[in-house]
Amino acid sequence: MRALLALLVVLLLGSAAQAERLIVSVSNHRVTVTPNYSGEELVLFGSVEKDATTPADRTAYDLVVTVMGPRADMVTRRKERTFGIWINTDYRQFLQVPSYLALFANRPFDAITSPEIARRQQIGLNNVRLTQRVSGDFADVVPNDAFRSAFIRLRTERGLYREDPSAVTFLTPTLFRTGIPLPAEVPIGTYEIEIKLFANGALVAKTETAFEIVKVGFEQFVATTARQNGLIYGLATAAMALMTGWMASIVFRKD
């Protein structure tokens, strides 16, 4: 039974198999963030493998790379002037949105494919789905929504959201590379990379890979303890305060 199923899967895959296959790898699958980490750049390499069914005239490829960090709920708030002072008044909650998001391509997104496919494949920051909770409803809104664009702008300013339509370079017509910049305040967790290959505006192949960002050292130990053992952490901090104060009174004792 199982063998039959496996055969079926192979057959199905075989029939759906595209003329191109993508083979990719990142320079480092596990990035460790140390206390003096100040950002780094990963490199994604890959090549387009053609097979016998590839149309002979297909030579020019376009590539879109999407890197997505661990997902989280986020709240965007807007200040308004009330009684002469600036107060947070309105807010939107973004549900399970990537904490890091990068979109790279080898040429402008609108030159790669049609607006329709770009929207469906979430190509470009304007087309990425960012679900908002709007009074009980869950929906993504139009790209020029004030909260959505402010959200993307603020994340971009911190280097956590980015799009660069010239980051992917084709070294040969089938061999490509792109850098993935990771800022100093990069969130930890699992990062998914989606690589989409386009030819003549149509999606012809797609693959995925991932890497992981872990924080190591004392600093991470502190952060984890603070979150998981709040009481012990608080007691330790209080004890540290007492120790420091006591030591100071001994060191600087005048009489």
Partner: protein
């Protein structure tokens, strides 16, 4: 040297934070105050979120007030009975304060409330202290004697208790209320409250100057330790690394400040302190009134991994 602060989630220059700690320590040693009202704003100005600043400064103040309290204890300048009654109020106030802090944070109004409290409290206390210092300075210029202290309505309240070390006979009601108020604002604003507590104890409760500073330090110490604990348990916002750097800078600076303070006359000291408090309050007021650079802010509600 850059160091990554684990809870503030921000790289900072160690020497900058150390220098800030020392500078605030110097001022606090000079005036005999905790210095939280300077430290918290400074941290906010270098980019640490108000919530983390308030929670971390609490442990920093605990350290500096502990070293101060030990010194006063050795000089027998602490009234244990008065301190315990104050603490009853202080612990209650701190609990209420941390609870309010959590609620405001969930509503997204915490930063505003911190800024507003700074404006109201610091401009009021600052101008009172400044004008009082100015009057005192004029009096000494003219050579007039300060007006004699008289008993006020507070001394007519029931539930009186004798505080031996301070040699006062006083109702516990105002003492507990003062404790609650100081504990509450301390937990929300990240201040020890010494700069308000000492004047209140001198002018309203008529506590003699011999025990006032030592006793107020005990209240500051315990409320701030308690606030550290509660902030750590409920909001996970205490940055121990940041606090340690601040403590080391603070206690060192305080020693030099205390020596400098002895060379300045009392009235001038109060005038200067009043001016300092007032300017921090005004700084916050300006921040609230001018249009912020960015009207939008983002807060992460925890990464789900």
């Amino acid at each position: 040297m850059q160091l990554y602060l684990p809870i503030a989630d921000l790289p900072v220059n160690v020497f900058l934070v150390l220098a800030m700690g020392a500078a605030v320590g110097f001022v606090s040693g000079m005036f005999g105050i905790g210095g939280g009202f300077l430290m918290t704003p400074l941290l906010i100005f270098i980019g640490i979120t108000p919530a983390v600043a308030v929670a971390s400064v609490a442990s920093h103040i605990a350290a500096s007030s502990f070293s101060g309290a030990l010194t006063y204890w050795r000089r027998r300048a602490i009234d244990p009975a008065l301190a315990s009654v104050l603490l009853c109020g202080g612990i209650t106030g701190t609990t209420l304060g941390v609870w309010t802090f959590t609620q405001l944070r969930a509503l997204g109004q915490l930063d505003l409330m911190i800024a507003l409290s700074y404006v109201v409290l610091l401009t009021t206390v600052g101008s009172l202290m400044f004008s009082e210092g100015l009057r005192a300075l004029m009096r000494t210029r003219r050579g007039a004697v300060p007006p004699r202290r008289t008993h006020n309505w507070i001394h007519g309240l029931p539930l009186k208790m004798r505080f031996k070390r301070s040699k006062i006979y006083l109702s516990v009601i105002p003492v507990v209320i003062v404790g609650i108020v100081i504990g509450f604002i301390g937990a929300i604003m990240g201040i020890g409250g010494g700069f308000i507590l000492v004047p209140i104890m001198i002018y309203l409760l008529r506590v003699p100057t011999s025990t006032v500073i030592g006793t107020s330090m005990v209240l500051t110490l315990v409320t701030m330790l308690f606030a550290t604990l509660l902030h750590a348990v409920t909001n996970h916002l205490v940055d121990a690394v940041l606090a340690l750097i601040l403590m080391v800078g603070g206690v060192t600076g305080a020693q030099f400040g205390a020596r400098a303070g002895q060379k300045i006359r009392g009235e001038q000291l109060r005038l200067l302190l009043g001016l300092l408090i007032l300017s921090v309050g005004v700084r916050f007021a300006i921040e609230l009134v001018i249009r912020p650079e960015d009207l939008f802010t983002i807060r992460e509600l925890g990464v789900s991994t």
